[in-house]
């Protein structure tokens, strides 16, 4: 059997059997439902269109109404004006929350109007109404001084300074970073444990013995890695499908999320190859299925550390260092991309180191797996297997390893 055909068949079996398991569909369904809810609910519950303000005026004028309307529009809101006969009614309307604010106009051009607002009233609304009243007063005084109407308009239409708001979306970017790193953490952790456990079961049940007589050890390992990896990507697709659909139809996505998802793809693939290959190699060292969890403990610790940094401080110097390490970059780099901290140079170096690590891990993992999968009788030490594999000797030569005669 050619290597590629063996890999394809082993991967196909992993995929087919995973798709037959109820647990896969339950997890995929939960992720799809959760992601869909996260995308749809804010649209349904959180945003009911432009804000509407109701303002009552007492003794106003057409100019004042126009000024108020323009000011409220500047807030991105709509205005509904109501005219009341006196200040008492205006106070009652504000107190009873029938209107958001009331304006009792003074003498034309005096600028002595009164604004009535509830204690919980919007500061932004108060500010723009104050500005409108001031403009109305200035207009009245200029007209009182004989300035022609068009000239007054020209004076009052002087452009205001542009407002540049810094880091307005930092919260959204941190949320996107947290979501992406959490998803990748759970994905890599569950998949690496799954590969290690599957390998340990095959070794414990001696299925590997049957298969090694038919296909090469490398085909067994990488077939499993590819098969489980595809299952993981299918699970990931369930989680991302609602996000992609929402983005495609022009829906609002949290700032940084789309960039993080697209930008992290290479690190996701690198992470899957690294963690799953190492999971398979470490799983081959153990004698029983129950030992698989402890065998992949070094991988778990690396993931937990990377996840902690990606969650807590993706902009920190520590994160910038961990973004280069191949075992931590699959979590840290996507988080840094999401918060906009990753530079092109940093990304290129990290990607290069990750790809180099893939080559090394594939070679080393294959050697360890090949040596360990046929050694039964007791749990093997990675150090012994690596030393003997590197020396080109059979691990069977180690005194610590027993093989059935």
């Amino acid at each position: 059997m050619r290597g590629t055909a063996g890999i394809r068949l082993v991967a196909g079996r992993e995929l087919t059997e995973a798709l037959r398991r109820k647990s896969f569909w339950v997890v995929a369904g939960l992720l799809l439902a959760g992601s869909t809810a996260a995308m749809v609910l804010p649209e349904v519950l959180g945003d009911d269109g432009p804000k509407r303000y109701e303002i009552a005026t007492v003794g106003g004028s057409a100019q004042l109404d126009a000024g108020l309307s323009g000011a409220v529009q500047a807030l991105g809101a709509k205005l509904e004006l109501r005219t009341l006969p006196d200040g008492d009614l205006a106070r009652s309307a504000v107190k009873d929350e029938e209107v958001d604010l009331a304006v009792v106009a003074g003498a034309p051009g005096s600028g002595e109007g009164t604004m009535i607002v509830a204690g919980s009233g919007s500061d932004g609304l108060v500010a723009v109404v104050q500005q409108a009243l001031a403009r109305d007063a200035v207009r009245g005084r200029l007209e009182g001084l004989g300035v022609p109407g068009p000239s007054v308009d020209e004076v009052l239409s002087a452009p205001s300074a542009l407002v540049e708001r810094l880091d307005a979306d930092s919260g959204e970017r941190r949320a996107a970073s947290g979501a992406v790193s959490t998803l990748l953490y759970l994905l890599l952790l569950s998949l690496s444990v799954q590969v290690a456990t599957g390998t340990a079961i095959e070794k414990a049940n001696r299925i590997s013995e049957v298969l090694l007589a038919i296909v090469r050890p490398g085909a067994l390992l990488f077939g499993k890695v590819i098969g489980v990896g595809l299952v993981g990507l299918a699970t990931l697709a369930c989680a991302l499908a609602p996000v992609i659909i929402k983005g495609a139809v022009g829906g609002n996505l949290p700032e940084g999320l789309g960039r993080a998802l697209v930008g992290s793809a290479p690190w996701v693939l690198i992470g899957i190859v690294l963690y799953l290959t190492l999971g398979g190699a470490l799983g081959a060292l153990v004698e029983r299925q129950e030992e698989a969890g402890s065998a992949v403990m070094p991988l778990t610790l690396a993931l937990v550390g990377a996840y902690f940094v990606a969650q807590a401080a993706p902009e920190s110097p520590l994160a910038s260092v961990l973004a280069y390490f191949p075992l931590t970059s699959p979590l840290v780099m996507p988080a840094r991309i999401a918060v906009g901290e990753a530079t092109p140079v940093e990304m290129a170096v990290s990607l290069g180191l990750g790809l180099a690590a893939v080559v090394v891990v594939i070679r080393t993992g294959s050697l360890v797996y090949r040596q360990a999968i046929v050694r039964t009788g007791r749990r093997l030490k990675l150090r012994d297997v690596l030393r003997l594999a590197a020396a080109g000797r059979k691990v069977a030569g180690a005194a610590t390893v027993r093989s059935p005669a």
Binding site: M1, G6, R13, E17, E209, A213, I214, R402, P404, A405
Partner: protein
């Protein structure tokens, strides 16, 4: 020690292992072992537990690489492709418990290079032949131990291999299953194919073996055609259907080697007259059935290895 090689009778259409050596640490597991598996004969690789049988089979299949020695197939070094075409039933049984029987067999057939349709057809035929047609849709985890072992055998045969290697295939089988497996083995070799099986239950497989290679502590201690080996052995025994006390027989003529409810087996000294020994027994008790027999496989092994039963409890004389 008899040699495992037989240069004069070398058959080109055969599996051959030459001078296989394997150490695990300080322990020598195989020490210059030769093995020949010609087509059309039932070849038994026999010996006690720990003799090195499974290690040799794993080496034949390339699961282990020996320290030295060579494996040849049809007159040339065995290749990976050759090995993929053989069928192997390992001593430790392993199947994917959550797969359905027919799916598993079809998948293994495809690993051997068959296309899906052919693999499915072969699986169906084989399950029919092995009496498992009604279990094809069952999951492995739902099968009894005996049925699962048949499925394991089917997995080794689904691609219709020319060479079938079975490591301890009779281990744990009931008498009906032993008969069934024996029939499968005979069918395979009668079709002119190659077959090698191992067993530590020497007397259980005595009737099945045509050629034997006896291993002990990693070395071949006896090799050849079983009938010829028995015929050429100077050792003979007298079996009588009666209980015999040791004091009845002159020790210079015979000694009791086995006794059970069905009778007693007496080993005749070289040159002893079986009739005189029988008369000595009949002087004390009634004998209605008796026979002069060649040595059993266990006795051949013990004689070749220079051991006694007390020394080697792992040599099992399984009840037939």
């Amino acid at each position: 020690m008899a040699s495992g090689s037989d240069k004069d009778g070398e058959v080109p259409d055969a599996l051959r292992a030459r001078s296989i050596c394997q150490r695990f640490g300080d322990r020598v597991v195989l020490d210059g072992v030769d093995l020949d598996v010609p087509a059309g004969r039932v070849i038994g690789l026999l010996g006690p537990n720990g003799a090195g049988k499974s290690t040799l089979m794993r080496i034949l299949f390339g699961v282990l690489t020996p320290d030295s020695g060579a494996v040849e197939w049809r007159g040339r070094p065995a290749t990976e492709e050759d090995r993929r075409s053989w069928g192997y039933l390992p001593q430790e049984r392993g199947l994917y418990r959550d797969m359905r029987v027919s799916d598993l067999l079809t998948w293994i057939a495809r690993l051997h290079g068959l296309d899906k349709a052919t693999g499915r057809a072969r699986s169906t035929d084989l399950l029919e032949r092995l009496g498992l047609a009604d279990r094809s849709g069952d999951k492995i985890m739902d099968l009894s131990g005996g049925i699962a072992q048949r499925v394991q055998l089917a997995a080794a045969m689904v691609h219709e291999p020319d060479l079938l290697v079975l490591d301890e295939p009779f281990s744990g089988l009931d008498p009906v299953a032993v008969e069934f497996l024996s029939a499968v083995i005979l069918d395979h070799v009668r079709a002119g194919r190659h077959l090698l099986f191992s067993s530590h239950q020497l007397d259980l497989v005595e009737d099945l073996c045509e050629t034997i290679t006896l291993l002990d502590r990693g070395r071949v201690v006896l090799h050849g055609d079983l009938r010829q080996l028995k015929a050429s052995s100077p050792n003979r025994s007298l079996r009588v259907d009666a209980a015999v006390e040791a004091g009845w027989i002159d020790e210079r003529m015979a000694s009791v080697t086995a006794a059970d409810a069905s009778g007693t087996r007496l080993r005749l000294r070289p040159g002893a007259d079986p009739g005189a020994v029988l008369d000595a027994v009949r002087a004390h008790t009634t004998v209605s059935d008796f026979a002069v027999e060649a040595p059993s496989l266990s006795e051949l092994f013990l004689a070749a290895a220079g051991r006694t039963v007390a020394e080697e409890p792992a040599v099992e004389k399984a009840a037939r």
